[in-house]
Amino acid sequence: MNSKIIIWAKNNLFNTWYNAVITLFLSYFLTKAVRSMVQWIFSVSWVVIPRNLKLILTGAYPVDQLWRIWFILLVGTFLAGISYSLLKKGIRGTVLVLILVPALLASLGFSHVSRMYLLSLSICQVVGYLSGKYLFGGKAVIIAAVGWVIFVPFIYVMVNGFTGPEGFLPLVRTNLWGGLLLSMIISITSIILSFVLGLFLALGRRSELIVIRYFSIGVIEIIRGVPLITLLFLGYLILPLALPANITIGVLLRAMAGIVLFHAAYMAENIRGGFQGLSKTQYEAAYAMNFNKFQSMVLIILPQVIKNIIPVLVNSFTGMVKDTSLISIIGLLDLVGISTAIAANPEFMSDSQQVLLFLSLIYFILCFSISRTSRKIEASMNYDK
């Protein structure tokens, strides 16, 4: 055992004299950096995070309506549980982490209600897994697929609500949405809508119809030529003017319009890349099968294109999650916006480093898991070949 480590170190760290020097040098600095980091972590007060956790996670969302967010999470984890049961090996570790994390969090100093909810999240995943495996049998695929498709509109209905103040699901206006909740809602929306819009733009750009082609090229290139922030301002300041006087759209929707449009243009280019990567013989084969254009596109070409660009797509989702942070510049209280609001509270004025570090951690966990997933998919697809 010991000798194995030594051999490994010899091969990977000290194989040449200059590598040995570099290794020693780096180890020294690394230990020093880690030590000062740890020292800093223990020297500052972190009370700002638990005290503002509600604000960071949900913004100004009414406290008595928070159960709705929990409920969405419960349904989501249940669906995730079913999905695990369908997947092959190789993700067991991830699943275990997903189940254990809420359970571990529940043992921390949250309120009793939160602890119960967290525990239920773990249980829901296990229940989902078990029912997927033993209860639903062959129908699990359909249940999971339908579940995920309904899940997104379900989130909106739950978060937004539709009844009066005394009803079952009172309306919660978008100006009360904030923090991670808002960031996630915008991310999910822009992922879905920009994919759909991007697909149309990509098809338009490949179209033989000259008007449609140039229109698509125009939209794609103009959008890709400007920073996202100008589109946000366009949506923010100009869109209300451009709409008829009797129509007003909320600021959140306008911000979303900007974000979706922006990412759709990039998505369109990704999808176009997928089309170009596809061999011409596929078109010819479809033609030989006597499919018409529409049929060959929907049945033969698109499925392959989408399959090929899944890693790229998933990877571009990290960009979308990260870009939601820009809405703080037009005054929306997403994660970054909330961090500024927290800093305004006299009590926490000097704690902005901790808050920013915590935010970075949230973004990192979100984006890193997305890019990991993309790499896993890529690896499994290469394996297929």
């Binding site: 300041l237 006087a245 209280l333 500024t340």
Partner: protein
């Protein structure tokens, strides 16, 4: 590549068409006026608010004392409460109000586009804003003035001492232009350090990014109390501008403007006459003064003249208190800020708060 070049040309073309359109500005003006009238008739803010059942007020999310978010996500502060007062006057319930956090950059656009009903966000009433931006302003709810905050040990006593200094200022505020003007008029050079939001600015200032911080006296004072060591800072005696902070409403909706104005006057009036949320009921039952009776909705029907219920002023003072109560709650000694009232006290006490008669 060709396509891209064409695109830029197209954009330029669009720009050019707008320029050419702008050339006709003079000719188009009369048309504009008739349209304003039509527009305001078709969308009376009061009706919208009544239908909607609550008021939407544009505020700041991070301005301690004036308006800020607490950890539970509620808006607190003087301006937020002023929004609640008007909600109480219009709808009879101070909680029938939604707050929209706005940056100083977007605040007027939000009002213009109809996204908010009222703007209570430390907006200074200026002539350009009143005319160019097609806004209307209420009576000032807070008389402020721009000055500088400096460290006591910096040796800066007057504006002249600021030669060569780095000065923080919030971008998008009137302070930015005032600063530029005053320094230019006195031939002083300085380095402006601009910030999008106050927290960023405050953090940087405290750490010594700049030698002075210019802004409204009230804001500087609140922020000063929140610094790690308030005794290290001081404000210059000179005031370089008048900053009457007023509530913004859309131009052309006179009825709504009246409501906002008279609600504000109501808060002034109540303080002037010693009517508070605690004693309002006893005053209502005992007062002999005709004006107080009118104010409380017992005599003439002042409320219905505004399109509101007759007990609007009663509701407002009863549920949110008079001007003095609001001021003490958010700026008084108990708030930890202790901002002197200065001009912001009733005229009877030597201040500038002067309500026209409720008759």
């Amino acid at each position: 590549m060709k396509q891209r070049i064409m695109l830029v040309l197209l954009t330029l073309l669009a720009a050019a068409s707008i320029i050419s359109c702008g050339g006709k500005e003079q000719a188009a003006a009369p048309v504009a006026e008739t349209q304003v009238v039509e527009r305001s008739n078709s969308t009376a803010t009061l009706d919208t608010v009544m239908d909607r059942g609550y008021l939407i007020v544009g505020v700041n999310a991070s301005n301690p004392g004036f308006s800020y978010l607490d950890p539970d996500g509620n808006y607190l502060g003087f301006e937020a409460d002023m929004g609640r007062s008007i909600a109480a006057a219009v709808l009879g319930d101070p909680e029938k109000v939604q707050f929209r956090p706005l940056t100083s950059k977007e605040r007027f656009a939000a009002l213009q586009s109809g996204e908010i009903d009222l703007l209570i966000r430390t907006a200074t009433h200026t002539m350009t804003r009143d005319t160019d931006l097609s806004l209307d302003f209420s009576a000032p709810y807070y008389y402020d003035g721009q000055t500088f905050m400096v460290r006591k040990d910096s040796g800066i006593k007057t504006i002249a001492d600021l030669e060569g200094a780095a000065i923080c200022v919030l971008t998008g505020s009137t302070s930015e232009g005032n600063l530029s003007d005053i320094m230019a008029s006195r031939n002083l050079t300085y380095k402006p350090v601009l910030f999008e939001n106050l927290d960023e600015l405050m953090g940087a200032f405290e750490k010594g990014r700049a030698d002075a911080w210019t802004g409204d006296r009230s804001g500087l004072m609140t922020r000063m109390r929140n610094t790690a060591d308030p005794s290290a800072y001081t404000l210059l005696d000179e005031t370089i501008s008048k900053e009457p902070l007023a509530i913004g409403v859309r131009h052309g909706d006179d009825q709504w403007g009246d409501i906002v104005n008279w609600s504000l006057y109501g808060l002034f009036f109540a303080e002037e006459h010693g009517i508070t949320s605690a004693n309002i009921d006893s005053i209502k039952s005992s007062t002999e003064k005709p004006e107080e009776q009118a104010f409380l909705g017992m005599r003439s029907e002042l409320g219905s003249k505004l399109g509101l219920s007759n007990d609007w002023a009663y509701n407002m003072v009863k549920k949110t208190g008079n001007y003095g109560e609001l001021f003490d709650k958010h700026f008084g000694p108990e708030s930890g800020l202790s901002i002197p009232r200065g001009f912001n006290k009733p005229w009877t006490g030597g201040g500038l708060l002067y309500s026209p008669p409720f008759r």
